[in-house]
Symmetry: C2
Subunit: 135 residues, 2 copies
DNA sequence: GCAACGCACAACCATTTGGTTGTAGATTCC
DNA sequence: GGAATCTACAACCAAATGGTTGTGCGTTGC
């Protein structure tokens, strides 16, 4: 279901959009951590940290397990990879676009300034093409 | 500055946390699009779409340029790549953790010098989530 | 010239978010 | 057993979010 994927992505990126949660994620990727040991790193209430942990869990980026009186959280590398892959796919789309433009340049006349299209340097979308959009 | 990076990441992931914005990003990665042509794809007001475009621009994920009476947006592959890389680094952290555990297991785990936390010889049920790529 | 188009921006609104405090249930330590 | 620890959860609050409508202004087409 496409919608489900979108909902997952919503949860992933929303969970990642808070710096405290990203920091928590970094820590638990290194190894299991209890909620209170995590909380000691931040200047906010334990409840706030616990909520962040729950948010990360609901996004599938970490898992929680109870051990005695503490709850241990650990990172889910698979989910992190999936989110990364989603962005990588966006990049691929861009590369295809560049490839298309290359094809056009190779076949037809070129009014575009020869631009080195590739990841190495910065962005440089060949905007100069300024399509004669007349409606 | 570390803080600046964090702010960037905040903006990136927040911008990506909305499915409409992700869709807009996908479209403009394929090529420049005017705001109103983008808006035709969604069942919301043009103003709403325009706000999304602005959000994406402020996150640095797209650029806008004025051409006549329309505003053309196009994707910034570099920023998308940076966001993806940030997640990839998280994965790396996880791999290092697995590598450490492997080392410990291979060399008789006794004390954890580098591990400031209590997680006693954490069990790695890691294999469950994804291929333990130890390189 | 003037109507239609494309966009920006302000004002407004309901909902979500990130934070707080307070209460309560398990679990561990002495 | 009793105190301390760790966590969950409810209730509350200010601010941000995602959406709307309305207004205005430069650009384009006839």
């Amino acid at each position: 279901m496409d919608t489900i994927d979108e909902e997952r992505a919503d949860a992933w990126f929303h969970a990642l959009s808070d710096r405290t949660r990203r920091d928590i994620l970094r820590r638990v990727m290194r190894g299991e951590q209890s909620v209170s040991s995590l909380a000691r790193n931040y200047s906010m209430s334990l409840t706030a940290v616990q909520k962040h942990v729950v948010t990360l869990e609901r996004a599938g980026l970490i898992t929680r397990r109870r051990s005695g009186r503490e709850t241990l959280a650990s990172g889910q590398a698979g989910a992190v990879r999936s989110a990364a892959r989603l962005l990588a796919e966006l990049e691929d789309v861009w590369r295809e676009r560049i490839a298309r433009i290359d094809d056009l340049l190779g076949a037809e006349a070129a009014s575009l300034p020869a631009a080195p299209q590739h990841p190495p340097a910065a962005q440089h979308r060949a905007a100069a093409s300024s399509p004669p959009r007349k409606d």
